[in-house]
Assembly symmetry: C7
């Protein structure tokens, strides 16, 4: 048994179900699902002085596909947007649950739902799929940006169902490198306009030759305003 | 362990249920189901300036079989058609669900259903079968073409339950080669008549000697019109 | 690993449940169930100019058994007959469901059920047993012949739950050889009398020395008439 | 892999559940259950010119046991008897279901149940236990003899849930040898008296030195009469 | 593979669940459960000319234990007693079910229940646990003695759920040897007094030096009388 | 296969679920659970001339822990106490069930529950967890002491769900050695005061240098009195 | 088999589900879950003369994260706080259950819930997940501090569902070392102010160079007061 510890645990089957701890106390199936997320296309979210935004790399650049249908930024309610990384069909299920939740809140309380309630509900569902057998964990991370009583907020929910609030964050491919750059460049005084410019620069630096303005989409919410969307080169014209 | 990574994962059983991620974060059972789809007969769908159509290779050419019964293009409602690739009995289940859904919509709202609602519902069912245990994923892709308030639309739902809107697309055997040719030849000004001609040429190029006009069937919907069908040599007479 | 691909997949267990795809995208348990069908006794069905018939080889020739009780041709309603190949007890379950379905249709709509509704329902049940775990697929093929508004029709439902309409078909042992001969000899102008004669000749050619008139049974339906049955040598006297 | 095909399939586990087909299309667990039946004590059933009977070898010859309690011939209703071979406690469950069924028929229709309805119901239950997981198949064959509107009938239901009508039949140990002799000696003109004599002779020939009149029991039903029972030497005095 | 057949079947796992037949048609888990019964302490039951009794070896001889609490003879109703061999906690569950059954019978029909109804119900429960998965078989045999309309009766229910009526019987350790002696010595004219004397002699012969009067308990029912109990040396004073 | 029989059965997996008998008729998972019990801290229970008591070794001696919270002697009702050995959280579940049961009895019958009803209910729950799959057996033994109409009683329920009445008993670590000493020293005339002194001496003899008065707790019930508790050195002052 | 006993049990699969005892009577999956807890960030809880507090190392020091959202100390009710170590999403589920429980208590009884009722309920849930199959154990320890009628109390619930009351305790990384220091330094006369100072010193000693005041958060409850919170350097200013 001179195999590295990872391969040993694979050989012994600790990584076969989400309901099994490895001898080191890890949930390996959940860690594999996290790899799926890192295979997904990346997006950057930012809390700005005048609102919040998500800038997403749609990655798809096929002229046969209807551009709008390949969008990776979803509208959960008129004040909340979300981007996803990982298995897109898993994400759609969670986005649809979020939309229903937001509508029920409006009907019940006659007021917009707080973004954190959305992210908590989604994360609780994910936690259950990482503890109970008979199904696989959701292979998807969600970034949720929105307004809470006029204050912009940003949250990220990971595969295990853990979530945190962020000033700025990235999910998907190369998220670690993007976050490193965000730590260098982000400050709370950025406007949406300046924040988007910064985010595009970061994508350009990370993707190098592969950078293609046409693949990007932007969704932003100004304080007291509604969601606005821009695609491709139009993003550069943002005022 | 000098086996290629694919065989290693097979040997270690990561590909035995749809509810297990491989160490690379893949759902191997779902990927195998996609191979079933590629074993299926192919069809081409197109959004045209005057409507939309699906041209399908029935593949079956047995004089004992009643031709109409081997049709691969289904009528979901008077404004929506669908072709399938993969396990035909799986497809029938999903087509019947779609038909019921379309009828319920007419009864409830007294208006034709939007094609995207059909494709979303079908895709949600597929997603569940790729996440929950106790059953296998649906081994079938669906291409859905139809009218939405007088505008032609085309969608494709894959095995994982992901779906996208298309201007033109192909499913089944050699789909990659067909799509390559569609990218070269397709433009939005094509009429149904010209689009069908182009699609037949693509099939002829791909299938070579195996091309046999008798195996093809066409279903098309003109703006404000109903579904029309043509078989074999009759397709060439389309005006 | 120099084993042929079939044995490799057996060794790796892809063939242990109906809910698992092999790396090539096959459902091996379902394919094994199809072998059961080929082990069953064979029958020929024909759509004729004056009706339709099924001629079945009962295979059983034991004087201890009550001949009528070994019949392989079942009456589903007064206008629909069916023969089966494979596990006889599985078939009985499906035949009984069909009979109930036909009766319910008469009670609800006061008219005879269309043969295709029967075959679709049976095939949907089979599809479920090939997709959900906890049970094995039905190991049986059914050939269904009947009248639809005075027009004779013939259908065959296979193990996967796929079904097609036929002019003429065979199920069970040597079905491929029988179908080859049907393709040579069948034409739509055949009367029941001539069709039965042709079917008997095919059985004689295929079975050679093993051919025994006493093992055969015939059920036919003339347009506007009811089901009629003949056994053994009496079949030859059909007018 | 030079093992015979049987051992190969055992080694590969195709014989572990009733819900799995072997690569040859066999249900091996069901075939094993059939061996249990052949381990059981044997009985002969006959349709005679003046009624029907079952002659059973109780096999048990222990003076500590109350003779009547070791009976292998059960009364299902006043016009139907049954013998069993295989797991006796499995048989009791099916016999009790039959008795309830017969009583319900009398209450509902005020007439005796047809023997075939009993055997069909029992066989349907057996079929389910050979198709659904979570339980083992019933390890028992039943022979059912009875009156249907004054006509004697005999049925046998095997482990798979298949059943047939018989003029004469045997189940249990050496059933093949007994049936061979029945084919030689049986004719439809036999009276119960002569049939029982013939059946005893067959047992004597098969069992040789082990034949012991004391272990046998007889139940018979004369046309228009009720069930009568005789044990051991008394059987010889039957008029 | 030169292993004996038993070890081969163990190695291949035919003995892992009660719901699996071995290739010889055996239920190995049930046979293992029977070994548990043979590990249990033994008891003798007898039908006598003036009633019936059970004489049981409590086996326990620990001065820390309250003697009465180690009793192996249970009172099911005022006219039925039972001894058990095997897993004592399994037995308690079945005894409690029997007591409830007997009480329900008195409440419903205002008469004492027949002993056979008790043993049949217990045996049906056992049968189910030997056929359905998700639980293990009951590891216990029960001997039930009681009065049926003034007539003494004795029954034994084994692990498979099979049961028989007896004139005299033994369960538990060395049951085969004890039954051999019962066959020699038992006759129907024995009174309870003489029967108990005989049973004690048999225990003395079988157990030799280990025989210890203090470990025995006796329960008997005289015709028209109620259950009476005696322990240890007091048994000898029975009149 | 020269392994000892224990290791053979481990290697062959007979010890993996509580629902499997080993070829010798043992329930190995249940036997493993019994080892958990022997790893637990020990307690002694005694029936005395003037009441009953349980003296328990809390084993815990951590100044960070609130002493009362580490108690191993639980109050089930004002007349019943219990000590446990094994998995403490399993025990708490059973103790809480007992407390509810005792309260329900008081509400329903307006009288204190008999201690045996408590121990029987607890033992029935344990039996179920040793027979049904889907859960592990309770890894805990309970000793229950209490008053039954002014008479002191002591019971012990083991892992299998078997229970017995005792004059004196011990559970947990070294229970065999303790019981050996109890057999030497116990007599029914002991008062609580003398019994406790004797029990402390036994612990001192068994534990040797590890004996630490501070770790012990005593609960006792005098006839007609309520439960009283003493800890550590205070136990010596008992009058 | 010269492997150490741990590796042997891993190789033999005793550590694959929470519902299996190892041959030594251990629940290995539960022990692995405990390792997850030791991988979590640590916190110290103290009962003081003037109240109680929890000082937690948030461990996270990422300027992209909103500090408040990374809090490891939760408010269960206005008089109860809790810190967690292990899988954060598991913890959130239990914390939310606790909050609901506390609110229900206020609604039902119009009084604050006792902290022990919270910890008992949480622990019972954990016990169930360590006994029943189909899910994994909760990988989290909880420390709960709160007021019970003006008296400060501290509890810790471990992975198995066992819980104890403490004067002072620590959970998470290096808990053993921290507890060793607490045993040296703790006394019941400490005020919150002095206790916090002591706890910070312990963290400084254990963490050495890695100690960073910014990562810490404090929550405390003074007698009759409500929960107060301090972060980072502000903790030092506590009066």
């Amino acid at each position: 048994m001179d195999m590295p510890i990872d391969m040993q645990h694979q050989a012994m089957g600790y990584d076969r179900t989400a309901t099994m701890f490895s001898p080191e106390g890890h949930l390996l199936q959940v860690e594999y699902a996290e790899k799926t997320v890192r295979l997904g296309s990346s997006s950057i979210g930012l809390v700005c002085s005048d609102g919040c935004f998500i800038l997403a790399d749609k990655r798809i650049d096929d002229k046969l596909i209807v551009a709008k249908s390949a969008s990776k930024v979803y509208e959960i309610d008129s004040h909340i947007i979300s981007s996803v990384a990982g298995i897109v069909s898993d994400a759609r299920v969670l986005i649809e649950k979020s939309q229903v939740l937001a509508q029920q809140h409006r009907v019940t309380y006659d007021s917009p739902i707080e973004p954190e309630l959305i992210v908590k509900e989604i994360s609780n569902i994910k936690q259950q799929f990482s503890q109970y057998g008979g199904a696989r964990p959701f292979g998807v991370s969600l970034m949720i940006a929105g307004m809470n009583n006029g204050k912009p907020e940003l949250y990220t929910s990971d595969v295990t169902g853990n979530y945190l609030g962020y000033h700025a964050n990235a999910i998907g491919e190369d998220d670690d490198k993007i976050k490193e750059k965000l730590r260098e460049k982000y400050n709370k005084e950025l406007t949406i306009k300046k924040g988007v410019k910064m985010a595009l620069e970061i994508f350009k630096e990370i993707q190098g030759d592969k950078f293609n303005m046409d693949k990007f989409e932007l969704a932003f919410i100004k304080k007291q305003g509604n969601i606005q969307k821009l695609d491709g080169e139009d993003i550069k014209d943002l005022k």
